[in-house]
Amino acid sequence: MKVLVCISHVPDTTSKINFIDNDTKFDTNGVQYVINPHDEYSLTRAMWLKENQGATVTVVNVGNATTEPTLRKALAIGADDAIRVNAEPIDGFFVAKQLAEVVKNGGFDLVIAGRESIDYNGGMVPGMLAALLDFNFVNACIGFDVTGNNVTATREIDGGKEILATALPLVIAGQKGIVEEKDLRIPNMRGIMTARSKPLSIVEPVAFDNTTSAINFEKPAPKGAVKLVDVNNLAELVHLLHTEAKVI
């Protein structure tokens, strides 16, 4: 089984979100980058397939050279090799299109990606990738097992879960639950050392017309101060929620 895990290089959750150049670009100044949390769960699950079912695991990112430390971190967690598509991503479709080329050229039969990235939150790449490749697709996946070519996967639905039967080739959009929190892998020293010599190949992007373009960014209006209500005056809270906030 050849597994490809898609890695987004995203600002750490605690980063200050600011924009520059007339609010057209994200301000990367002082921002720490991490593996997208949903991708981290997906990568850990792929490691399990490597150790227990003999899978090979490749990680891929679409981005410029600044994303390489994030790919090296994924290698340190245990991926066999890495691919970087050398392009500044434009939108979800752009990334899906580049990844589809990587999958076709690499003969992967299982692609695992996080359900969304925590920066642009589009949640588009896994589904678009599956549609472009005509692979099977499971979104919001919280667990799966592969037996030969057959796959049983669980997806989260509103108010519960659904168990699905499907088969390789397959794209899975993973999230928390695909592995338990306590099983999440972090790189150890040996992993960090060996990651340095693992192959990281750079491929050039394919060209096509963009379907969307980001114009600019805005920040939400600043919030007013919290209204504190005294413990002994909770009737006032009920009153405010009813007459002022109008939510009850």
């Binding site: 600002p11 959750t13 979100i17 949390p37 939108d91 979800g92 479709f93 899906a96 925590i118 920066d119 939150n121 949640g123 588009m124 896994p126 589904g127 678009m128 549609a131 472009l132 099977n136 697709f137 979104n139 919001a140 997806r155 989260e156 509103d158 108010g159 519960g160 879960k161 659904e162 168990i163 699905l164 039967a165 499907t166 999230q175 639950g177 017309d209 963009n210 379907t211 969307t212 373009s213 980001a214 114009i215 600019n216 960014f217 805005e218 920040k219 939400p220 919030k223 919290v226 209204k227 504190l228 209500v229 413990v231 909770l234 009737a235 009920v238 929620l241 906030a245 939510v247 009850i248």
Partner: protein, 320 residues
């Protein structure tokens, strides 16, 4: 030309988001000077959509579509969009909606914008505003393709009644094969889900243990709310993972979010700050959540929550 909306239903009943996307679709159709067409699959009473401006309803009735299948549904939407010559296709952000939208976009060679929170600010170029950076920013994006697909963020536009005399048309799409099939669906019956709830009551580590969730459930019952929890609580196994809300859990976009014993770590806020009104109950006046909240009570949850329940019951008794 038309605007096509997919109005999702479960067991024949429309979801609330079906009316929200219909309300939104009607306004987009007005902006474009065209008609709104609403696609339904196995819905019982399609006339309900007329109240939100559905000019034409395509009614698909097929037992083979009784269980949701993303690939097959996406193809049905594509067939409807092609038949109606739709220039904009609008889908909600339910768990099925977010599964469908990318597939529909690729099927129609359309540009896609998800998490859209407002009407297009301009239709030529076609510009929409979407949430990004875990609700810490908005991104104005142009969709450049002839056909455009919009994923509307839940509870962002609301319901706008605009009753018209709509028409119904039976639509019988051909069904493609899918390599994914449903084995079983496990849904907690009779409980308000976090996705559909107007009010969510959430508990954190400040509640000290799973045995103390009775008052959270009681508060939720009084308000008709869904129950939720913070990440540490689900990691500790006090509550099921399905209740975890926050960045890596479920997003909350309810009208009212009540956080009890939750300090408000940035990862938690990232998942819940789309809620319209936030109430925080916490013993620590320095808890970061107070900065993000609209209303706060500094006090011990074990004292505040029972009193709050009592006052809410009095209020409900007077207002029912």
């Amino acid at each position: 030309m038309a605007v096509l909306v997919f109005a999702e239903s479960t067991e024949g009943k429309f979801k609330k988001t079906a009316f929200e996307v219909t309300s939104y679709g009607k306004k987009v159709a007005e902006q474009l000077g065209t008609n709104l067409v609403v696609l339904t699959v196995n819905a019982d009473d399609i006339t309900l959509l007329y109240a939100y401006g559905a000019e034409k309803v395509l009614k698909v009735t097929n037992t083979a579509l009784a269980t949701f299948n993303a690939k097959i549904y996406a193809d049905v939407i594509k067939q409807a969009a092609t038949k109606e010559n739709a220039q904009v296709v609008i889908i909600d952000s339910s768990s099925n909606g977010i599964y469908l939208a990318p597939l529909v976009a690729v099927n129609l060679n359309a540009g896609l914008a998800t998490n859209v929170v407002a009407l297009p600010s301009s239709t030529s170029p076609f510009v929409v505003k979407r949430k990004s950076f875990s609700n810490k920013a908005f991104n104005n994006s142009e969709i450049k393709t002839a056909v455009k697909v919009i994923g509307l963020a839940k509870n962002s536009f609301g319901l706008k009644e605009q009753t018209i005399a709509g028409t119904e048309e039976v639509f019988a799409p051909t069904l493609i094969n899918s390599g994914v099939s449903s084995i079983s669906v496990d849904k907690s019956a009779g409980k308000v889900t976090i996705a559909d709830a107007d009010i969510v009551v959430s508990g954190g580590r400040g509640l000290k243990g799973p045995e103390n969730w009775g008052m959270i459930e009681e508060l939720a019952a009084v308000l008709g709310a869904a129950t939720a929890c913070s990440k540490p609580v689900s990691d500790l196994g006090w509550r099921p993972h399905s209740e975890h809300v926050g960045q890596t859990g479920k997003p909350v976009t309810s009208n009212l979010y009540i956080a009890i014993g939750i300090s408000g770590a940035i990862q938690h806020l990232a998942g819940v700050n789309s809620s319209k009104v936030k109430v925080v109950i916490n013993t620590d006046p320095e808890a970061p959540f107070f900065k993000a909240a609209d209303y706060g009570v500094v006090g011990d949850a074990f004292e505040v929550v029972p009193k709050f329940i009592e006052k809410l019951k009095e209020f409900k008794a007077q207002n029912s």
